[in-house]
């Protein structure tokens, strides 16, 4: 039986409707999810297992691999030592993709995970950056994020350093208020907290 014009028209309508439903169904997930603005030492993510504030978002071409390439290129941070942390995204909880640090003693340290692409921001990766000391006195306890001083807390210093290195290399950056200022106790007994501002740093398509 040869399909009539009416059959063809109906077929086209069905295909068009299917495509429309498919496209309409996906945008719910197509955004950066900042409902949870902290990293976690385990999954599922809870308020009790928070470790660090998220204070950097790599955007535009911010896949985790490009973020890695450009972090190493612009900072020279190549050490990979550090504990594994997890990031929350759209109700799930997932291990970080990578971490880099400026050394093994007192150092800058950043962990990150690639997240959902976002209609406005492009490919994104969320990151937690900080500066930490290797505490030896009065009791050796290991790495502790700096409590705050004139330059802010260790979290603020880590964000500032990343932002400075990237902008010096021509990447654009701006800050957004996220308010994730919860204090975190460190192994030396001090507390450190973000000042609540997150740096949105452009990552371009070309790997270095």
């Amino acid at each position: 039986m040869v399909p009539t014009f009416k059959d063809m028209h109906r077929f086209v309508l069905v295909v068009a409707a299917f495509v429309a439903v498919s496209l309409a169904g996906s945008p719910a997930l197509a955004h950066l999810d900042a409902a949870d603005r902290y990293t976690h030492n385990a999954c599922p993510a809870t308020a009790a297992n928070r470790v660090d504030p998220v204070n950097v978002v790599f955007r535009t071409w911010g896949t985790w691999r490009r973020a890695e390439s450009q972090i190493v290129s612009h900072t020279g941070w190549t050490a990979t030592s550090g504990t594994t942390q997890s990031f929350a995204d759209h109700g799930g909880c997932f291990p970080m993709h990578a971490q880099r640090a400026s050394g093994h003693g007192p150092r800058f340290h950043v962990r990150w995970r690639g997240q959902h692409p976002d209609e406005a921001l492009g490919w994104t990766a969320t990151a937690s950056a900080h500066h930490e000391d290797n505490v030896l006195f009065p009791l050796p306890c290991g790495h502790a994020v700096d409590s705050n001083g004139p330059g802010g807390s260790g979290f603020d210093q880590g964000r500032n350093e990343l932002e400075r290195r990237f902008t010096s290399a021509g990447h654009s950056a701006y800050r957004v208020w996220w308010g994730n200022t919860q204090s975190f106790k460190q192994c030396d007994g001090d507390y450190a907290a973000s000042d609540g501002w997150t740096a949105f740093i452009e990552v371009h398509q070309v790997n270095h």
Partner: protein
């Protein structure tokens, strides 16, 4: 971070903002806390920041931090000058990407939940009170118990509201 000794003896120092390593300028915004204990959690630390952020913090309960892994105390109250931190900051769409804050009213003042109910911000006259807790219920319990450090506002009573005619953004600019 400026850290105060814990306990009643520290409170006069806190009111005037003076303590070893904690800076010397007096706070010019009203302070709120819940006393020496809340929801079974003892006051563990009182902190003061005056650098890239400015607030007084009361930390309740303890947690075990390890090398390269800090930990989140069970509850914390931060009090910021409302000219630096208020709900208008969340008007920027990127401030709440993916999850707009849930706006409510608590004890007669505007408030909003963030982070799945584990952060509650209350906008009072002169101060923004930020409550961190393990759950929405925990945050509301703390909010109900808040009282001013100078005893002018008792627990459970209405907070003084931000003056009408002063917009939030104007407040930030005049800080």
């Amino acid at each position: 971070m400026g850290r105060f000794a814990v306990g009643i003896l520290a409170l006069p120092l806190l009111v005037v903002g003076g303590s070893a390593g904690a800076g010397t300028s007096p706070e010019t915004f009203p302070l709120y806390w819940v006393g020496e204990r809340v929801d079974g959690l003892p006051l563990a630390a009182s902190l003061r920041r005056d650098d890239t952020a400015r607030y007084v913090s009361f930390v309740y309960g303890d947690c075990e931090a390890r090398s390269d892994a800090g930990c989140a105390p069970p509850a914390e109250i931060q009090v910021w000058p409302s000219c630096l931190r208020n709900l208008a900051l969340y008007d920027d769409p990127q401030a709440s990407v993916g999850r707009p804050p849930e706006r409510i009213s608590v004890r007669g003042v505007p408030a909003a939940f963030f982070d799945d109910g584990t952060r509650l911000e209350l906008e009072t006259e002169g101060s923004t009170i930020v409550v961190f807790a393990g759950s929405r219920g925990g945050a509301l319990t703390i909010a109900a118990a808040l009282r001013s450090l100078d005893d002018s506002v008792a627990a459970g009573h209405p907070f003084p509201a931000r003056r009408k005619g002063v917009s939030q953004k104007e407040g930030v600019q005049s800080c």
